[in-house]
Every structure is written in C-alpha cells, then in structure tokens.
Symmetry: C2
Subunit: 345 residues, 2 copies
C-alpha cells in the first residue's frame, strides 16, 4: 500500500474483511443497524490502523448540503416568547455557519404543505417544525421527505425527534418553592382549555402536594380563561373569603397579573398576605408587575438551540430518520419578589 | 390580418407607428419613461382596436417569477407586536398566491448580507426589509440587487419605498382625546432614548397642546426608561404632589403599566382621579390592566400588508426602483376605560 495515499473506505473494508457498507454504518454510528460488537471492534481497529478518516467535505459535496435549514411554524412572532425559540435556533445556526429560513403557516395545512415544498425545492438540509404552544401535531406529509425535528410539539411518528417543556416538573418546582417558604394551603389557578400543559401542570401540582403530605382539595383548583381577566375572577373567588389560601400558583403570567389586581382590590399585600407564582416568564409582565413576579421560565431559547443542533447532527451523520428522541427540557424557577412566608394566623 | 390569431405587441406597434418597447412601456405603465400623452393615447387606442392583451403568464415565465418573497428583519418575533407585521405580510401574500421566507439577522450586518444573498440565490421576487422599531437604517448593498421595501424604517436612498407609523399623528390624537374629555393639564411620560418616535411624539404632544391653546410646561415632560419601572418613577414624581396633572400620556403601554402601579400606591383611581393613555396597543398589557388601557395602536398589521402588496405591484409592473414613496400610516386610538373627565377641584 502506498503510505502517502490517504487510506480509503475500501482499504478499511478489505483489512476488516467486511463490506464498505458495514464500514460506513459502523464509523458513522448509524443507529438501528444490527452489527455485532466483534465486527464493530474489527472495523474500528482497521480504521485506526490505517488512520482512515471519512472525508466529510466530500460527503458534503456529494450530498449537496446547503447549510441552510427551514423553520416552519404555525405562528411566528404571534406569542411574546416565540422570539426566544427563534433566537436560540438562529444563534445555534450562526455558530455553525448555517442559515435559517422561516416560514409561517398560520395553522393552514394547505399553506404549510406548500411552504415545506418550497423549502425542499430550495434544497434546505432539514426543517424545524415548531408549534406556538405545547401540543400534539399531525405532521404534513411533505415533512417526511427531509430531516425534521419538532419544537413544542409531539407526534406518534417515531422517526421525528421532538422537544417540549417539562410542564409537570415546572409545576412541581412551583409547589416546592412555596412549601419551602412554609405554605401548606396553595391554590392553583389553572387554564380552562384542555391542552397538554393544563393536565401536566395539574399533575405536577398534585404531586408536589403529595410529596409534602398536603391533602389535595379540589376546590383549591379553579379553571378559568388563561388571561388577566380570568386570573382576576379566580383570585377574587379564592381570596375574597376568610378561609383563603396563603399562596396562588397561576397557570401563566397573564393570570398572575389578574391575581395581582384582585389582591389590590381586596387590600392584600404581595407577598406579606399572599404569595403568587406564575408560569411563562413573559418578561413584559413578570418584570413589569410590582413586586416582580416569581415564575417558571419556558425553555424556548433552549428548545430552539436543541432543534437546530439536532438537525445539524442528524444531517452530519447522514441519519435522516433516527430512533425517536422525545425530549423534555426543564422549566427553571425565576425568583423575583412575589413569594414570601405565609402570614401568621 | 388573420382575425383568429391573437394580436401581438408587434401588431400594436405597427398600427400605432411606434416601437414595441414604447408599447410595452405604455401598456405596463412603467413610470419614469417620458412618452408624450399623444403617443400614449395612440398606443392605447391601437391596443383596444386589436383587443391586444399582454400575455401575463408568458411575462412571468420570461422573468422567471417565483411568487416567493423574502422578509428580512433584525428581530423576528422579538417584540410582541412584530407578529402583527408578519401576519399582515403573510395574509397579503397568501391572498396573492405568494409565499414568504423570513430571515432574522439579529442586527448582525454580516449575517444579514449572507441571508439576503441566500434569498437572492433562491430566486425570491423581492424582499421586505423590516426593522423592529421605527428608525433610520443603512441598507445592506445586496438589498439593492432586488426589488425591496422597508417596514418601520427609512433611509436616504430614494429608490426604496418605505412605511413607518405616524408617531406625530398618534401623539396628537392622544392629546385631542384628553382635551375632548376636558383635560387641560396633561403630562407626557416620554422615552429617554433618542429614537425617532421620541421626538415625533413630543412634537405631536406639543402641537396638540398648541392647537388647543394650552401653554407647554417643560416640567410636564419626564423622560424615563421605556419600561414599567420608568413609568412608575415618572408617575410618582408627577402625581405625588398637590399640583399634579389630571392626565398622563405615556410613551408606551409598559410605562403606562408602571403609571397604573403608581396611582394605586398613591391611592388615586383611574379614570376618576387621573386619566392615562398609552401607546402601542400591546394587548397583553392594555387588555390585562384594570381598567383597560386606552392607547394608540401601531399599524403593524397594515405595514406588513402594505409591504407585500407594494412588492407584488412593483414586481408585477417590472419596476425595480420606483420613485421614492415614503409612507406614514395612522396610529388609531383604541378606547378602553382609562380616560374620563378630570376631577373637579
């Protein structure tokens, strides 16, 4: 063998006594291929011995990669925190020298399919498919023609990696924070809509009570419109009576904003008389309220980062349809000033 | 002439006694071409006589139109109302059977140029270039290679049509609304940042006073951070003294949110003791406050509509660099419940 010539995949296959396809599967870590560990070891040893490195540049040229990804959403910019998903995705793309093209479907399946096909015609390397809130989605068929990942959404298709916020864990964190301050009588102002976050946060809430030996009282959960006015009504109902709870956990920051107004109307002070925790970390509200609202942050930035990094990794490995990876990312507590000790009675 | 054959541009040119180029200029209404009115009339008469219609489909094929436009912004989704610009643009595109590809530059000129070139490589018919707030921009050179329009931005280049909100008119509307309710002592909680809206809204405010014969008092204008905390500080300074104004006009809804908190802390009721008007119609805040905040809406949806419609019209007419059109769109008053009559003293 001419030692000045870089070794090729054929050299590795020949030395290991396997096909070039097997070498490719082993060295590219292609999942789902049944290759026994002895063969894997033999291929890796042969590659090491020959100092063989797959020619990534040539692979890129052969596959005509464009280092451009599509980002299809049902509501780009329609929610105040959607910008964080975009920022996380964008900065990850930029760090990898990739570009992102965003398209907005407005929940119109026909337009969505047209947009995805337009992106594929323009040779994107893969597509981020993002929902504007955590929900089950039906995938547009055109999406299966490329490498795709889901953000804030899940589906039954096992071939598409997805990421959603850990709603359960966020609610659990909220209860733990309140219990750590001494609260035992905590109400939950929940969303009246039947979306995944509603059930998952309720489960986290009840689990938080249970792990602290606090009995669950159904009357301490009020389901309302997930806006300021709904939070106001629920808080008035809960706080306008002598046996009021000492803390409110609100489905979102908008409901917490309404709860603040209710406490003001009832002459209660936050956090001296009542502690309040929100959800979303919607900064215009959480920072804008007085006192500042302690809340759970949704991992939008991190979901955007994860989505693009996962696409880059999948495209780089040549694996279009990996084994399903359904990830949840934590909702961290953002402490401001709305949680204190319960009033002594 | 064979009457069963559709007439061509050559037939029209021959009958009118002009060149086919002149026929094209006249029938496509290409601006900036000096063709005298007598010639124009002769061409149109000839076209009518021959029932000549330009073959729009063939034109599209010849120009290789893709019916896809780029939308480049420095901050897609980073402001709560940016979604409205996108919605207006998207719905106008959909109504015309066009697609929009969004790219987000994050104020990075190098990335922006790369993105615009990527869009041009993918044969968009034109580009909307949108700022996240009303400001002067320096155009990326690559933008001049295509048909472009500016949203919420202006530039010295006379070849690029642009649209911005009528900041002056919005502030004037706010003062007129307050004066109509009987207010004569109005304070302005202005932004401390030197951006166009700051000066234009101040000019609208002083003009509104002047047209109503109200003397301008510099101490009735406080410049602060354009967030809730800034509005709170300014409102405390203005309202925490006996000679307080009867109405506050706030630079934005976030400052108005802080002003609400100040009135609560001072024991003043809205609108009985003090009237408040915001700016932006940021719905999470304006609808979420109690009482609801009367405010001026920014014409984001309309700017998005205008941008895409203008691009479609320009591309359709074949005019890449039209005569400068710098448009301002009105900021309409959105009445809720924060303005009433001044208290009797």
């Amino acid at each position: 063998m001419d030692l000045r010539r870089p070794s090729t995949i054929k050299d590795v296959a020949s030395l290991a006594g396997v096909s070039t396809t097997t070498v490719s599967f082993v060295l590219n870590d292609v999942p789902g291929k049944r290759i026994n560990s002895e063969t894997r070891a033999r291929v890796k040893d042969a590659a090491d011995e020959l100092s063989y490195r797959p020619n990534r540049l040539a692979q890129g040229l052969r596959l005509q990669r464009t280092h451009t990804f599509g980002f299809v959403s049902d509501a780009i910019g329609a929610t105040p925190y959607a910008g964080l998903t975009i920022a996380g995705a964008q900065q990850t793309a930029a760090a990898n020298g990739s570009l992102l093209m965003f398209m907005n479907s407005g929940l119109d399946p026909e337009l969505e399919d047209k947009e995805i096909r337009a992106l594929l015609d323009r040779r994107v390397d893969g597509i981020v498919y993002a929902s504007d809130y955590h929900r089950r989605v039906t995938l547009p068929p055109s999406l299966l023609r490329t490498t795709a990942v889901l953000v804030d959404a899940f589906t039954d298709d096992p071939s598409i990696p997805s990421v959603v916020p850990d709603e359960f864990g966020g609610a659990l964190t909220a209860v733990r924070e309140l219990v750590a301050h001494g609260h035992r009588d905590i109400a939950f102002l929940n969303n009246q809509e039947d979306i995944p976050a509603t059930g998952l946060r309720l489960a986290g809430f009840t689990s938080g009570l249970a792990e602290n030996g606090i009995a669950f009282s159904p009357e301490r959960v009020i389901r309302e419109e997930p806006i300021s006015a709904g939070g106001y009504r629920a808080a008035i109902a809960l706080l306008g009576r002598p046996d009021r709870p000492t803390a409110l956990f609100c489905f979102n920051d908008r409901m917490a904003m309404g709860a603040y107004q209710a406490t003001a109307d009832l002459g209660l002070r936050i956090p001296d008389d009542i502690s309040i925790i929100g959800f979303d970390n919607q900064e215009n509200i959480a920072d804008g309220l007085r006192p500042g609202l302690t809340t759970l942050a949704l991992p939008h930035y991190e979901m955007g980062q994860w989505a693009v990094q996962t696409l880059i990794d999948l495209v780089g490995s040549g694996v279009q349809h990996p084994i399903h990876q359904a990830l949840t990312l934590p909702c961290p507590l953002v402490r401001r000033a709305s949680v204190g000790s319960p009033p002594s009675r």
